[in-house]
C-alpha cells in the first residue's frame, strides 16, 4: 500500500470506513433495496394486468410488462441510493470526527471520495440483488451480448456516480440529518416521473415534457435497448450528457461546500 499516492491511499481508508458503517448499520442499504423490490412485486402481481394494457398499444401480457418494468426498477434502485448517501454525509458533518479529518494532513477530498465510491458500490450491489429478484419473477433479457450486459452495468454505475455526487452536495448543504433526508427526496421521486412504469406516449400531453426532459427516461430507454434489444437511438448519449453534467455539477458543488470554513 505504501507505494500508492496519498490521495488514493486516504480515499481507500475512507472507503473502508464507509463500508464498515454500511456493514455495521445495514438498515440504510436495506431501505434502499426494499422500495424497488416492493414496487416490482406490486406492479407485476397487483397492477400488472392493468399496466400491461398501456404497453404496445394494449394486449401485452404479464411477461411483456415485466420486461418493460425491470429496467425502470433497476434505475429506481440507483435513484433511491442518494438519500442514504446524503444522510450519511450530513451525519459525518455534524459529528466531531470531521474536525479531526480536517486537521490531519490527509488528502482533502478523500472523505468525499470515500463516500462516493462506497455509495456507488452499494448501489451496484443493490442493483444486482434487485436484478436477481427480477429474474426470479420472470425477467429475461432478449439475446443481450456480454458486451451489452457490461454496458448496462457501466450505465448503471455512471448514473449512480452522477447522482451520488449530487447527493453528497445535498448532504453537505443540509444543516442536519433530517434536512438531508428531506432534501434528497426529490432525487428519489424523479424515477416515478419517468418512463419507468408506462411509456411517455401514454402519459397526458402536458406531463410528457416532464418525463421526457429528465435524466431517468433516457437512461431507462438506453437500458431497455441494451437488455431487450429495443431501439436506443440517441438516448445513450443524452444519458451520458446528463450524467456528466450532473456529476460535474455535483462534484464542484460538493467540493466547494466542503472546502468552506466549517460553521
Amino acid at each position: 500500500m505504501s507505494s500508492l499516492s496519498p490521495a488514493v491511499r486516504d480515499s481507500y481508508t475512507m472507503l473502508r470506513r464507509n463500508l464498515l458503517h454500511a456493514r455495521r448499520y445495514p438498515s440504510l442499504t436495506l431501505n434502499v433495496l426494499l422500495m424497488p423490490i416492493v414496487l416490482l412485486l406490486l406492479f407485476v402481481y397487483v397492477f400488472g394486468d392493468v399496466m400491461s394494457a398501456g404497453i404496445d398499444g394494449g394486449g401485452a401480457g404479464r411477461a411483456e410488462y415485466i420486461a418493460y418494468l425491470v429496467p425502470g426498477i433497476l434505475l429506481m434502485t440507483i435513484g433511491g441510493a442518494p438519500v442514504g448517501t446524503a444522510v450519511s454525509v450530513a451525519m459525518d458533518m455534524t459529528e466531531g470526527i470531521i474536525a479531526r479529518f480536517r486537521t490531519m494532513a490527509i488528502h482533502r477530498g478523500s472523505l468525499l471520495i470515500g463516500h462516493v465510491v462506497g455509495s456507488v458500490l452499494r448501489a451496484v450491489i443493490s442493483v444486482v440483488l434487485v436484478g436477481a429478484v427480477a429474474v426470479a419473477v420472470g425477467f429475461r433479457s432478449t439475446d443481450a451480448s456480454a458486451l451489452e450486459w457490461l454496458a448496462a452495468l457501466g450505465l448503471l454505475a455512471l448514473v449512480a456516480t452522477a447522482f451520488t455526487w449530487i447527493a453528497v452536495g445535498t448532504g453537505l448543504a443540509s444543516p442536519n440529518v433530517e434536512a438531508a433526508s428531506n432534501n434528497a427526496l426529490p432525487l428519489m421521486i424523479l424515477p416515478f416521473l419517468s418512463s419507468a412504469f408506462v411509456p411517455v406516449d401514454a402519459m397526458p400531453g402536458w406531463f410528457q415534457p416532464v418525463a421526457e426532459y429528465q435524466p431517468f427516461t433516457p437512461a431507462i430507454e438506453t437500458l431497455r435497448g441494451l437488455l431487450l434489444g429495443s431501439a436506443i437511438g440517441n438516448e445513450w448519449w443524452i444519458t451520458i450528457c446528463w450524467c456528466l453534467g450532473l456529476g460535474t455539477l455535483g462534484y464542484f458543488w460538493a467540493t466547494s461546500l466542503f472546502h468552506r470554513d466549517p460553521r
Binding site: M1, S2, P6, R9, D10, T13, R16, R17, L20, H21, R24, Y25, E95, G96, I97, I98, A99, R100, F101, R102, T103, M104, A105, I106, D261, P262
Partner: protein, 320 residues
C-alpha cells in the same frame, strides 16, 4: 518572528483577528508558546477560546494575523502544520458508529502507518488509556470520560509534537478530570507542547507554564500563575458572625474592613501569614469578640479572572 527566546516557539501569533459578520471574535491577539511548554488560554464562555484553537489548528481561516505553528506559516502551508499537530476539540472527535479500536486503526491508516505498526500503536494506546475492555464496543456507548480518553488516544496516534486541547475536561467528573491532568502532564514530560483552553482556573493553575486570560476577543493579561495573582489586591480574612451585636462591635473596632451588614461578615485585608492571623486572633480574644467562622482567602486565579473579565460578574453559563 523577531521575538528572541531561549526556546524556539512552537506557536506564534501576531495580530490574530477573526470576525463572523460584524461580530469580532478575536480582536488582534498575540500569542507566543515556547516548545515543550503548556500554554493555557483562559476565559469565560464566548471569549473566543475555541475560535483561537480552530484557527491555529487550521480548521478555520483567520481574517488577519501572522500565524506560525511548528515553524510553518498557517496561510502558506496548512498541510505542514497539520502534520505537526494533534487536536482534541471540545466535541469529541470520534466516530461513534465504529468501535474504539476501529477508530484508532482508522487514524493510524490516515497517518500512513504500516499495518503492523498501526496495530501496535493502537494496542499500546488503548492500554495506556484504560480502554482495552471497551475496545470492541461502538464508541457511542462510551461514557463522557471514555470518549474523551479515546479522543486523546486518537490524537496521539501520529505522535504529534504540538497538541491543542480545547476544554479537555469540560463535562468530566472529578476523577476523569484528574486522569486527564495526569495524561497532560505525561505528554509534557515527553516534550510535547500543549495549547490548552479552559474555563477552570484551577486547571490552568495546575498545568500551565503560562496563562493568557482572554476576554471579549482580547488578551486581558498574560503571565504565569504567580504573576497573574499579583495583578489583584492581596488576600483577606473573612469573619462571619452569628449575632448582630458582636458583628457591630467588631466592625467598629477594626479598621480597614469591608463590612457586609446583610451577611454579618467582615473582610480584613491580610496576606494569610501565620503572624498576621495570630495577631488578629489575639486581638479578637482581647476585645472579647467571638466570630462564628473565620476563613482565610488567599488571592487565586478566580480573583484574577473576575477582576479581568468584568468585576464581580459570575461566569455566565450557556450562550455561544
Amino acid at each position: 518572528m523577531t521575538t528572541t527566546t531561549s526556546r524556539p516557539l512552537a506557536i506564534a501569533a501576531e495580530g490574530l483577528r477573526k470576525a463572523y459578520g460584524d461580530k469580532t471574535v478575536l480582536d488582534g491577539i498575540d500569542l507566543a508558546v515556547p516548545t515543550g511548554t503548556v500554554f493555557s488560554l483562559l476565559g469565560p464562555n464566548g471569549a473566543g477560546k475555541t475560535t483561537a484553537v480552530k484557527i491555529l489548528s487550521t480548521l478555520v481561516t483567520a481574517d488577519a494575523g501572522d500565524l506560525r505553528v511548528g515553524g510553518h506559516d498557517l496561510a502558506v502551508d496548512p498541510q505542514a502544520v497539520r502534520a505537526a499537530i494533534g487536536v482534541t476539540g471540545q466535541f469529541s472527535a470520534v466516530d461513534g458508529l465504529i468501535t474504539g479500536e476501529e477508530n484508532m486503526l482508522l487514524v493510524a491508516d490516515l497517518h500512513h502507518l504500516p499495518r503492523r505498526e498501526g496495530r501496535r500503536t493502537t494496542a499500546a494506546l488503548l492500554e495506556r488509556f484504560g480502554l482495552v475492555a471497551a475496545a470492541k464496543k461502538p464508541a457511542v456507548t462510551y461514557s463522557g470520560g471514555m470518549r474523551r480518553r479515546l479522543d486523546i488516544a486518537m490524537t496521539l496516534v501520529g505522535n504529534p509534537r504540538i497538541i491543542f486541547l480545547d476544554e479537555p475536561t469540560t463535562g468530566l467528573d472529578p476523577r476523569s478530570r484528574h486522569t486527564m491532568w495526569g495524561i497532560i502532564r505525561e505528554l509534557v514530560a515527553g516534550g510535547v507542547t500543549v495549547f490548552l483552553t479552559t474555563q477552570y482556573l484551577e486547571e490552568a493553575d495546575e498545568l500551565a507554564d503560562r496563562i493568557a486570560v482572554l476576554n471579549d476577543g482580547r488578551i486581558a493579561a498574560q503571565g504565569n500563575a504567580d504573576e497573574l495573582k499579583r495583578i489583584v489586591p492581596g488576600g483577606h480574612v473573612r469573619l462571619r458572625f452569628a449575632d448582630r451585636s458582636a458583628y457591630r462591635s467588631a466592625a467598629v473596632a477594626l479598621r480597614e474592613v469591608t463590612a457586609d451588614d446583610e451577611a454579618l461578615t467582615l473582610r480584613i485585608p491580610s496576606d494569610g501569614s501565620q503572624r498576621e492571623l495570630r495577631s488578629l486572633l489575639d486581638w479578637l480574644d482581647s476585645a472579647d469578640i467571638e466570630a462564628d467562622q473565620l476563613t482565610v482567602h488567599t488571592p487565586d486565579l478566580d480573583d484574577v479572572f473576575f477582576a479581568l473579565t468584568g468585576g464581580a460578574d459570575k461566569p455566565a453559563e450557556a450562550v455561544r
